[in-house]
């Protein structure tokens, strides 16, 4: 079992991985990412009140981190599914991905939700459109957990029948919320694992509103120019191969064509739901199916997500050929045709 610790090194902190050697002794810790100045807009983040991931990201992506704190708060404390079901989904995803930090956060939220009013019999309160509290059966909760796991490990293999079970149990709005909650957990756990699990320090509480931590314009550190980043002189070529069958590329092209005529699993949201959206979300929802379903049925979760993405794009200024080549690699890995 490896332990991950955030330790103070002089005035700097370093995320470190410490693990047992073959002889049972702790190996030397290996630094992943250092934390020297975890501040946003002049406010220094505090490990007692701010999450560990925010401490790592703040100095590198301050506006993104600010948007992420808002997004995290929404998913964990104001999720339209109710906070218990939201925590159950994040726990199912984190366990599927082997993300201990994500699982620990979800368990903390789950305990809090159980203490603060959700019944401890397995039933989950949900709010009907009329505002009355209804009861969601344990079987439905288990169905949601299973769906979240499937969405995590083999999303492209989910068949129409599996989807219909969720849709019939929850309806359109809540199904879209389940999908976005599971997608958020997939995002967050991969980020945690890429940073080198950071659970040993930082607050486990829901982040406070980041109002007091508004990044100054242009606060993100300047990135090196892409020409130098992508220079052939940089780094060593990995021996890694993804193990894809090269013969399948032609098959992919024909499957992309089929995806164009495929019928989606969920009906388009009512026109008035799109009309209510502010620009540019309304125009995007009219043009892009992903946005129509997401913004039409769950405008708040989707808007917070897009706000986070916008901040990241502005701060990272990724080269578009590079970033979309990486996007292609990931969609290929996931078997996602859309």
């Amino acid at each position: 079992m490896r332990a991950w610790v955030l330790v103070a090194v002089g005035c700097a902190m370093t995320i470190q991985a410490a693990g047992p050697s073959c002889c049972g002794q702790e190996t030397e810790p290996v630094a992943w990412f250092t934390v020297t100045n975890p501040s946003i807009g002049g406010r220094t983040l505090d490990a007692r009140t701010d999450p560990a991931w925010a401490l790592v990201l703040a100095e590198r992506l301050p506006a993104t981190t600010t948007a992420m704190l808002t997004l995290d708060r929404l998913h964990r404390a104001a999720n339209p599914l109710g906070n218990r079901m939201a925590a159950e989904i994040r726990l199912a995803v984190a366990d599927s991905l082997g993300c201990r930090y994500g699982a620990a956060l979800a368990r903390t939220d789950l305990e809090r939700a159980l203490i603060s009013g959700a019944t401890d019999t397995g039933a989950v309160g949900k709010t009907s459109p009329a505002g009355a509290t209804e009861v969601l059966e344990p079987a439905t909760l288990e169905l949601v957990r299973l769906f979240a796991r499937r969405l995590t490990v083999a999303a492209h293999e989910i068949d129409d029948g599996e989807f219909d079970q969720i849709f019939e149990a929850l309806g359109a709005e809540r199904t879209v919320a389940v999908v976005h909650s599971a997608a958020y957990a997939n995002f967050q756990c991969r980020l945690f694992l890429g940073l080198g699990q950071v659970e040993a320090t930082g607050s486990m509480e829901v982040p406070a509103s980041p109002d007091g931590a508004v990044p100054r314009s242009g606060e993100a550190p300047e990135r090196p120019p892409w020409e130098s980043v992508l220079s052939p002189a940089n780094g060593t070529r990995p021996g890694f191969r993804p193990g894809w069958d090269p013969e399948q590329l032609a098959g992919i092209e024909s499957r992309l064509e089929l995806q164009k005529v495929r019928r989606g699993r969920i009906p388009d949201p009512p026109a008035e739901a799109i009309e209510r959206l502010p620009e540019p979300a309304r125009e995007q929802a009219r043009r892009i199916e992903w946005c129509a379903i997401s913004m039409g049925y769950q405008p708040e979760l989707s808007a917070a997500w897009f706000e986070t993405l916008r901040a990241f794009q502005q701060e990272s200024k990724l080269d578009r050929v590079f970033s979309n080549s990486l996007f292609w690699v990931i969609t290929r890995t996931n078997g996602c045709l859309y």
Binding site: W32, N234, P242, P246, L318
Partner: protein, 108 residues
């Protein structure tokens, strides 16, 4: 995959260049790309497929190739892609026929 190809077109690649690039990517032989691109693709692939197996050594190589800031950017972008694909796959969204990311004056 359809959207990433549309976005490559918006980034300035023509149809042949997109086909060539996706063919090179799909081959799994990334020797035609720079070492730092190949490192990023490796991390993207592994953080997607088997995230707990991405270890300190892998991230250290990524940092050596791209630098600390760009390494974080690659991890973040990879995580983002995994959000987007979960939504698209759950709903099996039909792929739009035209490039939905093209500038308004370039759409049909």
């Amino acid at each position: 995959m359809g959207h990433s190809e549309m976005l490559l077109a918006v980034a300035g690649l023509d149809e042949n260049e997109i086909q060539e690039r996706t063919s090179d990517l799909s081959s799994g032989d990334w020797s035609g790309f720079s070492p730092s691109e190949a490192q990023a693709f490796e991390v993207g692939c592994r953080l997607t497929r088997t995230p707990p197996d991405v270890d300190a050594a892998t991230i250290a190589r990524l940092k050596t190739s791209l630098g600390d800031l760009r390494a974080i950017d690659v991890i973040w972008h990879t995580a983002w892609c995994n959000y987007m694909t979960r939504v698209a796959d759950a709903f099996q969204l039909p792929l739009e026929r035209e490039n939905v990311f093209a500038a308004p004056d370039q759409r049909p």
